[in-house]
Subunit: 194 residues, 2 copies
DNA sequence: AAAGCATTGTACCGATCGGTAAACAATTTA
DNA sequence: TAAATTGTTTACCGATCGGTACAATGCTTT
């Protein structure tokens, strides 16, 4: 009875939700077998190195998704303002309007963070770099772009934590909307005279 | 040989660092006995209900610290601008310039979050409420205070995650400084004409 | 049909999990 | 000094941990 589940990528999608919901240490193999419906044999067939490889696969999958759906859009969308709109819309959708945590953040806040330091660093620094360039294209003064990018990316993470803690997903959307207004060209937000 | 460790509160301080560093699920009893130097017997003497009671005690301790050092300062400092300065300075110091995670955030991002939902909710909503009032006292338009408070509190959480993920504690200070500028009275930051 | 590979279920491994029991030592109280 | 109280040590419990072994099953190719 092979092929109960279509593909490895389907398994990865399920694993992602499990890790998101229970954290790395909280996602036991018995929980994973229960939620995926796969026995240990199947899991270790797909991921011979076990749980760590499962998490690596999930993080790689997430990183790839962000690269193709967000980072590439930031770089390749001609109109920078539109690029930012795409990003904020994609983020709101990806995180299900605040009902879904970011697995990168979950891992970063867990004891397993050093085991996945490279993945975390790559995800956040890539996002920061691409966002900073887009902000500059959109009219933000060069000197401020990197810092604003940090504020936005960190703000997204924090808003997810906040929304979950307050048990109010709406908090995510409210913060996200405010962060988006920070991207408006500087000249529209502040009088330029000293 | 009783009284190896001075007080229950010393144990709580050690537990706080362990939970911060390893998360709730990652903080095993063997790790706790090793790091605290206390055997299981001693630990269960202090916390008869085990790990959950340890975490409750730590969260309660943290909540009390924030109440007395931050929330009370926000409410009781006459000068609102000064109150905000105190808050940002205390936050920067408490989180060790970005080298220390927030245990509330750590728990919120873990699978144990529902077990401590009340503590998390109280911490964030109290902070939000007191900060919002202070912001209004400082000249932020009433309609914006709650949203700005959310942005700041979430931003702090996210900045901690970001700093750890980038392995760059400085990112925390940079974001914190930006958040602080958001507290400047509205009229100084934006031209009021439509 | 036969062979070969991909996939799965089951039983099992040693280690560790959170937690308990109870004897015992130190300190405080009477 | 004797009795409680408080704190500690040690050994142990059943359950679960992550991981392995391997036979069996399905699918694909020939």
């Amino acid at each position: 009875m092979s092929r109960v589940v279509a593909e490895r990528r389907d398994v990865i999608a399920m694993l992602a939700e499990i890790f998101r919901e229970h954290g790395y240490d909280g996602a036991s193999l018995s929980l994973i077998t229960e939620k995926t419906g796969l026995g240990k044999g199947s899991l270790y067939h797909f991921f011979p190195r076990g749980k760590e490889e499962m998490a690596e696969a999930v993080l790689g999958d997430i990183a790839a998704w962000f690269r193709t759906h967000i980072f590439d859009a930031l770089r390749n969308t001609e109109n920078a303002e539109q690029a930012l709109e795409v990003m904020f819309a994609a983020v709101d959708s990806y995180f299900r309007q605040g009902r879904r945590l970011c697995l990168m953040g979950v891992i970063a806040a867990s004891g397993a963070h050093d085991r996945f330091a490279r993945e975390l660093n790559g995800y956040f620094s890539d996002w920061r770099a691409d966002l900073a360039v887009t902000l500059e294209r959109n009219g933000t003064p060069r000197a401020e772009c990197a810092a604003l990018a940090e504020e936005i990316i960190g703000g997204i993470q924090g808003a997810l934590i906040l929304a979950r803690s307050l048990d109010d997903p709406g908090a995510f959307g409210r913060v996200l909307a405010r962060l988006q207004t920070r991207c408006l060209p500087y000249r529209e937000k502040r009088d330029t005279s000293g």
